[in-house]
């Protein structure tokens, strides 16, 4: 669950703060996860190098998508990322030997780091560290001139350019950065259950991520976190009522959020604490 919050924070920066609609966040999560697993266990690359290469791959793919889209209207990016997400799943399914096809890859173990085997509660610590690191990085960016530039680009790109902001570059950097963060989260994810398979990285979850951020309150870190936690726990609470169809509830919540309270749950909280 903490990983979802991590992802939500990153996505919130891209969508809520930079105003870029993207469906590929989970694809990068997957690219990170699969890269590290394939590099480690099929190509036998040492762990530190595998991590670096995994990040590099994410960065390259992100640049390929972001650079051409940056010059076009926002929805072109949305489409390109949608296509990327679907394409990624197709590649995974058809990847045969390399990606383990539809079944994915399983039963590997994280190699020892500095002689330590990280398992169980120790690994949870890693996840928490990742979450905190992501939060701090994003928060620092948010409060810096870069964060302001992102918001300016989101609100009014023409005015932003007139103030000296290189709109295309800002968009590309934001996209690449958040995608790389998602990739790193993916790498951490790979060792949680020690299995990776295609369905997790598809468009479904990308929609859910978007919904989470909107329901929680886009543009605010706390909002993203609340949205993530809520949407993660909701299925468990709702199971007795609607079984597997919790996605329906998410859809309704999201629609309600957009129609009624675009600032999300965080907006409601703000109103009460005033």
């Amino acid at each position: 669950m903490l990983l979802w919050v991590t992802l939500a924070l990153g996505y919130n920066f891209l969508f809520g703060i930079c105003g870029q609609v993207s469906f590929s966040h989970f694809a990068f999560y997957g690219i990170g996860a699969y890269s590290v697993v394939i590099l480690l266990f099929q190509l036998h690359v040492p762990l530190p190098l595998a991590i670096l290469l995994g990040v590099a791959i994410c960065v390259v793919v992100a640049l390929v998508v972001a650079i051409p889209s940056a010059r076009l209207e926002g929805f072109y990016l949305a489409l390109a990322t949608l296509a990327l997400a679907q394409l990624f799943v197709v590649l995974l399914n058809e990847g045969g030997e390399v990606t383990g096809g539809t079944g994915g890859i399983a039963s590997y173990r994280l190699p020892a780091i500095f002689g330590m085997q990280l398992r169980g509660p120790w690994y949870t610590a890693v996840i928490v560290a990742l979450l905190l690191a992501t939060y701090f990085i994003l928060r620092k960016l948010d409060h810096s001139w870069f964060g302001r530039a992102c918001r300016a680009v989101r609100d009014n790109p023409e005015a932003a350019a007139a103030m000296g902001i290189d709109v295309a570059r800002t968009k590309v950097v934001a996209f690449t950065l958040t995608s790389a963060l998602a990739g790193i989260a993916g790498m951490v994810y790979a060792f949680v259950d020690n299995t990776v398979n295609p369905p997790i990285f598809g468009v479904e979850n990308a929609f859910l991520l978007l919904f989470m951020v909107i329901v929680g309150g886009s543009g605010r870190h706390a909002g993203a976190a609340i949205g993530a936690v809520l949407l993660f726990l909701l299925p468990f609470w709702l199971a007795p009522l609607v079984g597997h169809h919790h996605v329906l509830v998410f859809g309704v919540l999201m629609l309600a959020a957009i129609l009624l309270q675009p600032k999300g749950l965080i907006g409601i909280w703000d109103r009460f604490s005033r």
Binding site: F146, R151, N156, E158, A159, A162, G164
Partner: protein, 247 residues
Amino acid sequence: MGSILEVRNLSKRFGGLTAVSELDFEVREGEILGMIGPNGAGKSTTFNLIAGAYPASSGEVFFKREPILGLPPHQIARRGILRTFQHNRPFQGMSVLDNVLVGAHRLFNRNTRDEETARRVRAQELIEFVGLGDLAQADVGTLSFGQGRLLEIARALAGEPRLILFDEPAAGLAPAELERLAEIIRGIAARGIAVLLIEHDMHFLLPLAHRVVVLNFGAKIADGLPDEIRRNPAVMDAYLGSHAPHP
């Protein structure tokens, strides 16, 4: 005082239509140059050419002796030319203070806490200079039209421009607001910043500008002091039927 902006032989054609034709003028530091002309005279096009919105068909524009024609808007801004928009364009998701801070974007180079604080203080000063003092933390959605206009100005000033371009700043303002606007613009020029002001409203512009350039059908038809322009028959002809100037 030297020229900071020189426009030479500037022309712009859109398909078969010549919007601007062989325009020549300059703006000096600390000077308010007004550009007037009837609707369709080419003022906005000229403005947009200088601001980098689209490329020119021919001609040159020099800023601080360096050619800038054809550069994209953000690079023009980086060199020290900032502008306001005729239809206010605030950043809606941010407070007034943050809006002004974005204006200072070109000045940020090291992301230190001190720099940020210093810029905030400066931004607050500017907000007070334009008369929006108490509204620094307000959401821009709550501003009136006139206040939004003042925000545009504060934002453009935040970047410490050497040249500021005003796009019909008087449009839509009430008389009291116009007074304030004129005061602010004079204050800006007094600081040594060059001002290029395009305006439709002669009553506002002529008392304010140091020099005036008059356009009609894309070409310059007069260039001189406001009093000369007032008496210039060609100018009166151009405006006849739409907006006759007071003698």
